[in-house]
């Protein structure tokens, strides 16, 4: 019996692996990779690589200004994303929603929002509210909501009610139960996901400008239209530096919190 099951498992596994391999070559074939254009493009790549060096910045202040603007957009998008996610998560969590249908509706809304890529949101918002940083902030906020509402709601649903019972049993008021019982249970999950989302948003903010003038993404597109490969490399390096610096900063703050908390409880 179990041997047969094992045999069956092995067959499905082999089948999956075979299909995976065949599909890979099929994809390559469909993408026209196995043809002379591929080799030609390879030559092109080599030629261009040499013109990339040394990387240059024509108007360095402008590039850095654009990078800073992208950072600001990321911060704003994250803040509003978090605020609205917390609000919506309260309605999305089954154990908090006024009615199960509301929870269902909010979750479906979040799933839809999540499945539409951030860049498309940016495009839609540009059409809806015009150019500038605003559409990018809103696009990031909406895209963050799609993800965070789900995560927040799930952690609210995982709240251990029996612990809340225990706090209630001391004669605590509702507000006290929330502040002393619910908040400590949720806080660390909320924070670590919010920080994670900020790390994602800084990446998006760097490229959202691609579809509508603004931020460092736009500078990259501009340089690429002029075929200024040395500038493109320089801008790419600035993007890299910005993302890395932000990541290091958030990691530093995270580590510090962990350290101090450990020291305070040892």
């Amino acid at each position: 019996m179990s041997e047969m099951k094992q045999e069956k498992n092995r067959t499905t596994k082999n089948l999956i692996i075979t299909v995976a391999a065949v599909f890979f070559f099929f994809s390559l074939f469909q993408l026209d990779v196995i043809s002379e254009t591929f080799l030609a493009s390879f030559d092109g790549l080599l030629g261009i690589t040499s013109t990339m060096f040394p990387p240059t910045l024509d108007e360095p202040i402008d590039i850095f200004g654009a990078a800073v603007e992208s950072l600001q957009v990321a911060i704003m998008g994250t803040v509003f994303g978090i605020l609205f996610s917390i609000l919506l998560a309260a309605f999305a969590a089954r154990n908090l929603a006024p009615h199960w249908s509301i929870s269902y509706a909010v979750k479906t809304f979040a799933a839809f929002v999540r499945a539409v890529p951030a860049l498309i949101w940016a495009l839609l918002f540009i059409v809806a509210v015009g150019l500038g940083p605003t559409p990018r902030i809103l696009a990031l906020a909406v895209n963050s909501i799609g993800m965070l509402v789900k995560i927040y709601a799930e952690s609210i649903e995982e709240i251990d009610e029996s612990v809340l019972d225990a706090v209630k049993a001391t004669g605590a008021s509702k507000f006290q139960v929330i502040m002393q019982g619910v908040v400590p249970m949720l806080l660390s999950t909320f924070i670590s996901w919010s920080v994670f989302r900020f790390d994602i948003n800084i990446r998006y903010a760097a490229v959202l400008g691609v579809v509508g003038a603004g931020g460092i993404g736009w500078e990259l597109v501009r340089a690429s239209r002029m075929l200024a490969y040395d500038q493109m490399l320089a801008i790419t390096l600035v993007i890299f530096g910005m993302i890395l610096a932000v990541e290091m900063l958030t990691r530093f703050m995270k580590d510090r919190v962990i350290q101090v908390n450990a020291k305070a409880s040892s």
Binding site: V163, D165, A166, A169, G171, S173, M179, P184, S265
Partner: protein, 248 residues
């Protein structure tokens, strides 16, 4: 004769799904008594205990405390009533991510105004009191650790400390030792007993283990299918009566 602190009159509980968990419980509990409630799984022990501090609302009968029917209490009165009742749980039910001392201080929440309690501004007196209670259960050195860093037995002692910090008249313990090994179990029961004697706190303990009940209780109540089928001192609980309680 000691005075009566709690009186149950025909207490009934029907859950919204139709389960009849309590079918009319009538009993009185005297000051300083350590009562143990025994009964098989699903007999209604937890429901009874949770009815006493209104974690669930009985659907019939009366519960009298200091001469008042507490089933009619709303908000403020209920809060004030609950702080007279310390509760201890099988799963400890500590706020795991908060520190031990913070968990003990939760016992003071019922005495504080909503805002300062919510934001955790505990007074110096409350803090001292919590620290003292904590050292009484032998956890002075663990005070600043996160609650989930402690062993099961230690966590249950924090649970006891939280209940004691309320300065309660009655301690309700719902299978406080069901998740502990025999040694820690004995330890925890001993703490409960001594505290109840030293501070004259009435204690009601749900227990699965009949021999622990015999060992520690002044009085045993046997519950079966939502009704009291035995009520008396441990000495009167014969082998046959025990079997009667536990067979369905």
């Amino acid at each position: 004769m000691a005075e009566t602190v709690l009186e149950l009159r025909d207490v009934k509980k029907v859950f919204s799904d139709g389960t009849e968990a309590l079918k009319g419980i009538t009993s009185t509990v005297k000051k300083g008594e350590l009562v143990s409630i025994i009964g098989s799984s699903g007999a209604g022990k937890s429901t009874l205990l949770r009815s006493i501090n209104r974690l669930n609302d009985p659907t019939g009968g009366e519960i009298l405390f200091q001469g008042k029917n507490i089933l009619s209490f709303k908000r403020r009165d209920l809060r004030q009533y609950r702080r007279h009742m310390g509760m201890i749980f099988q799963g400890y039910n500590l706020v795991k991510r908060s520190s031990v001392i913070q968990n003990v201080l939760h016992g003071r929440l019922g005495y504080m105004n909503t805002l300062s309690g919510g934001f955790g501004h505990f007074s110096k007196e409350d803090s001292f009191y919590a620290l003292e209670v904590l050292s009484r259960v032998g956890l002075k050195d663990q005070a600043f650790k996160r609650a989930d860093e402690l062993s099961g037995g230690q966590q249950q002692r924090v649970g006891i400390a939280r209940a004691i910090a309320q300065n309660p008249d009655i301690l309700l313990a719902d299978e406080p030792i069901a998740s502990l090994d025999p040694n820690s179990s004995w330890n925890v029961m001993n703490y409960l007993k001594q505290i109840s004697k030293e501070d004259e706190i009435t204690t009601i303990v749900n227990l699965h283990q009949v021999d622990f009940a015999r060992e520690f209780a002044d009085r045993i109540i046997g519950v079966k299918a939502g009704e009291i089928v035995f009520d008396g001192p441990p000495a009167h609980l014969t082998e046959r009566k025990t079997q009667m309680i536990y067979t369905t």
